[in-house]
Amino acid sequence: MGGSQRQRVLGIKRVSDNVYEVLLEDDSGKRYTVHVKVEGDILETPYGSYYLQDISRIETVGEARGGRSVLGVSWAIDFDSSSGIFKAKLSLKIIDVKVGRGSRVARDDTLLLFETMKMVGELKSPCEGIVEEVFVKPGEGVKSGSQLLKLKCK
């Protein structure tokens, strides 16, 4: 798989009962063939072996990035832009809350500091807006799924 050439699947042909030949084309029009083999519930490919059931669940960069660019902390905290609610995606410890109910915030202002097993993180505001509700206190440990803050974006 050369450089940063994006490839797409042109066709798939069954070679034997569990082996498939895949024809790929990259952006420059160059074509490649790759063979994959199905062994029970495992897919063997030149890129590595995969549990078949996982492949359809795979989340790729494009999809994951959406969340990341909004918050920069998407792996720990979720933001639902329609309700304005921030929720913990993991067990977190709240270290510091920088805003209160009614605080006016600019985009990228720090809303709170939290801690996971791995490190301390900052939750930054994804927009200019007003804090409508704060559900947590400094020092508090919260479980995955807990509501943290409610923000109304302008």
Binding site: Y32, D54, E59
Partner: protein
């Protein structure tokens, strides 16, 4: 009959238990109330509940309860806590580590740095910072970029790079916060080295003044200052005899000056500009990456740790220790590589670990294993040995491609890409290498996964899933005309 309590969880418990069994010891393990299902408790003869893996009182009580002769702390948790060690020793229980005084001395980054200066071992320009003002003044003196560090944290926590005053203020605050868990936070500012390489020396020492080194490891491939691929020897020093002997001399000099008395690791930063190593910190415990050193030296580090912990004299002389070939380790984590390395949660529903010649797998995972993101999510370390570096790298790359961990997201694809990357194959890397190439690697992974998704969606899945016994009959294909697996296979011969 010696009774060992292994005061940890995860793969390190399995690793330590192997050696303890070999020594003919009895093994006790511990578990937190909601961690009772973890497979680590099964490797022992018996398991005891503790309030928390980091509760000194509770773990000490467990040690007393099982009549432990010696406690091995693993890594993380209480492994670098001198109070814990002291409490055990005071109760007549041995400690598989250096004496608490040496832990205090070398475990504190500021004290260790001062010691190195006294011993004549180079350190980077630095100053202690009691407050943000101190830190700013110090950074001005040293010149940006700098690293803000806490004196007493481990595992990549409590250190942040700052390239200007604004970043420094924030870094200081965050480091101070992260360091709280380790007691009184002392902060210092250190010159940041661009294109640095992280090389460390494994030390074995005993209570009677013997010190030997087991040569060096290189751990420059890091994400968020956490090592993920390590190798022994270092590709940097292996080809430069003088540089290597300088490094090893520094390590022995500092160990001897400090009167170090257990196993441990001295970490150094190599600055390509000055072509010089600088001591940065000591680890007074077993390290995750000890296996690569074991594979190239044939020395069981854990065995020496346990036996010197029992105050036996070191049974190895420096002249008996040689490096053969090369070993490379990849750490397999349950984490979301494409989402900022967030720890992944889930149950492992499918597992295929590599095996056979030239490989070592230190693992905690099994089918049905529940990955609890409350803890470190290291699942396994896959290590390959080769008679030279390229052989080891190739073997590890293939082992990683064979590995299947289903049901939970892992960094396997990242490791596969990394091992196959030109930079890694050439050992042309530095401590920020992964961060700098991450976007490229992520894109590659993402593209591959997209292709696989499409392939699977186009293959007649229901039939495949029910085909328990693949009926492999060749249908007249002549491989020569096709590029079978061509993308993956570049022969060296």
């Amino acid at each position: 009959m010696t009774i060992l309590l292994i005061a940890n969880r995860g793969e390190v418990v399995v690793r330590v238990a192997k050696t303890a069994r070999e020594l003919g010891w009895k093994i006790a393990t511990i578990y937190e109330p909601d961690d009772r299902q973890s497979p680590h408790i099964r490797v022992g003869d018996i398991a005891v509940e503790v309030d928390s893996y980091t509760s000194i009182d509770s773990v000490v009580e467990a040690a007393l309860r099982v009549g432990a002769d010696i406690v091995h702390p693993g890594y993380g948790f209480l492994s670098e806590n001198p109070e814990f060690a002291k409490k055990l020793l005071d109760l007549g229980i041995s400690w598989a580590g250096p004496s608490p005084e040496k832990m205090r001395l070398l475990g504190d980054k500021i004290e260790a740095r001062r010691l190195a200066e006294q011993a004549g071992v180079p350190v980077l320009p630095w100053c202690e910072a009691l407050d943000v003002g101190d830190a700013l003044r110090c950074a001005e003196d040293i010149g940006y970029p700098v690293v803000v560090k806490a004196s007493n944290t481990g595992g990549g926590r409590g250190q942040r790079i700052a390239r200007n005053g604004e970043e420094l203020v924030k870094a200081f605050q965050l480091v101070a916060l992260e360091a709280r868990g380790w007691g009184k936070p002392r902060i210092f500012v250190e010159k940041f080295v661009e294109n640095a390489r992280h090389v460390e020396v494994q030390i074995l020492a005993d209570r009677y003044g013997s010190v030997v080194h087991l040569y060096e490891r290189e751990c420059s491939v890091q994400r968020r200052r956490q090592k993920i691929v390590e190798e022994a020897p270092s590709p940097l020093t292996a080809r430069r005899k003088k540089l290597r002997s300088e490094l090893l001399d520094y390590a022995l000099k500092l160990s001897e000056y400090a009167g170090y008395d257990g196993i441990g690791t001295l970490e150094f930063i190599y600055d390509p500009k000055s072509d010089q190593f600088y001591f940065i910190e000591a680890n007074t415990r077993l390290q995750v990456e000890h296996g690569v050193t074991e594979m190239v030296t044939g020395v069981d580090i854990v065995k020496h740790q346990l036996l010197t912990g029992l105050e036996k004299p070191l049974s190895l002389r420096q002249s008996e220790i040689t490096v053969r070939g090369w070993a490379v380790e990849a750490r397999v984590y349950a984490e979301k590589v494409l989402s900022d390395f967030a720890p992944a949660e889930g149950v492992v529903t499918k597992l295929r670990m590599p095996s056979g010649p030239w490989l070592r797998v230190d693992s905690i995972v099994e089918e049905g294993y529940h990955v609890n993101p409350k803890y470190d999510t290291l699942l396994a370390k896959i290590i390959a040995w080769g008679s030279d570096r390229l052989e080891a790298v190739k073997r590890l790359e293939i082992a990683l491609k064979e590995t299947v961990i289903g049901g939970v997201e892992t960094n396997l694809d990242l490791l596969r890409e990394l091992l196959a990357s030109e930079e890694f194959v050439k050992a042309d890397y530095h401590t920020l290498f992964l961060e700098k190439t991450l976007d490229r690697i992520r894109r590659k992974i993402s593209e591959k996964l997209q292709i696989l998704k499409e392939i699977v969606s186009r293959i007649n899945m229901p039939q495949l899933l029910h085909m328990k016994t693949p009926n492999v009959r060749l249908q007249g294909i002549r491989w020569r005309t096709y590029g079978w697996l061509a993308a993956s296979t570049r022969s060296r011969y």
